[in-house]
Symmetry: C2
Subunit: 198 residues, 2 copies
DNA sequence: TTTAAATACGGAGGCTTCCTCCGTTTATCA
DNA sequence: TGATAAACGGAGGAAGCCTCCGTATTTAAA
């Protein structure tokens, strides 16, 4: 058998490509925060100082860019869940986390329109992000169920979908307050009778 | 003062225009039911056997077509609310109506994506449709509040927005059951303590 | 029945946005 | 330094919403 030639060294990404990718992510995040779903990719490329072909080389579709931009946020939500679980009683942790979820939308850390896809969709693209949120929510819910505080015969994600519904459209100026009020209603609605701690 | 000449008779719409409009509405309804928001206007025009200019003459924007298609549905929901109010105790009427609301989505009588705009938006175009639903929901809620069954410090429409959130994305195959379960959770969440009639 | 006027038609073309392809440029390694 | 591979960017295509205007059709009056 012939001996294989020694392979050439594998290259990492070029530094210009790394720099461009970073600029695209930062610019996209800012533009989505300002314009939401109306932000166009040509505009994002221009603002980042790159060509549209470059944007597509790094992020093959619009959704791929969106997913990359918000990957950090979903991770942060997952981490927040772990912290709350370590520091709060079960149902309080659940409530607090859902309010943080609402905060993330309010501070434009998540674009409302994308939220539905992340928590509600079945698209593979958002599988990672969706899984992080699903795992976080399921963990908090399981804890509260095990504690006897709540009983839930509904996919926990459906509660987040409900919150997304309040956030998702050009709702009125008080949508945030409404969403947080809805958190309380949902918690009250799944409370085990006789366990109204409030 | 000169006497005005007798005005000519005012014409109604031509019969071909009436026929085309009806065909457009029927075709649009069927296409939206089948393809949801992916239905394109060129396709709808073609399927209806008319030109794209004709579609736009009757419905100046895509939203105008959507609103016209679903005007009947929102009216039916409003009528259902009146009937339920006449035949059911307050909180039962509210619960039943919200389930009918979910049914409408399930049977494609309402396109989930439009639902958000109807119940959640501030656009003038959907003001009539939105007002019908808002009035229906508010009437049922007011009745239940007056009866002492529930207390609600949340815009009633936010409960529908929450349902729309469950319906709004390509949710799993059991979204309908989830939505109806969510109806019960919401009702339980706004129940006046000590009034758990269930 | 014919004519004139008004209504209505439809499709070519414009605009926007997402996306693709490929000639050119740039970074990297030997 | 030269060769190669990675990366670039922008022209152009496709899709979909929408507009405009020459042509067709309907309707009422003579």
């Amino acid at each position: 058998m012939a001996q294989e030639a020694k392979p050439k060294a594998v290259r990492g990404p070029r530094i210009d490509a790394q720099r461009n990718r970073q600029r695209l992510l930062e610019t996209a995040k800012a533009t989505f925060a300002e314009k939401g779903e109306a932000a166009g990719l040509e505009e994002i490329a221009r603002l980042a100082g790159v060509g549209i072909g470059t944007l597509y080389r790094h992020f093959p579709t619009r959704d791929a860019l969106v997913e990359a931009v918000y990957r950090n946020e979903t991770q942060r939500l997952a981490e927040a869940a772990a912290e709350l679980a370590a520091t709060h009683p079960p149902v309080e942790a659940l409530r607090a986390w859902m309010r943080i979820f609402v905060d993330h939308i309010a501070t434009k850390q998540l674009m409302a329109g994308v939220l539905g896809s992340i928590v509600g969709g079945t698209s593979d693209l958002y599988a990672d992000a969706g899984a992080q949120i699903k795992t976080a929510m399921a963990m908090l819910v399981d804890r509260a169920v095990a504690d006897g505080d709540i009983r839930l015969d509904l996919d926990p994600l459906d509660m987040l979908r409900a919150l997304a519904g309040v956030a998702n459209v050009s709702a009125g100026p008080n949508w945030e307050a409404s969403a947080k009020r809805l958190v309380d209603i949902l918690i009250a609605g799944v409370r085990t009778p006789g366990r109204e701690g409030r």
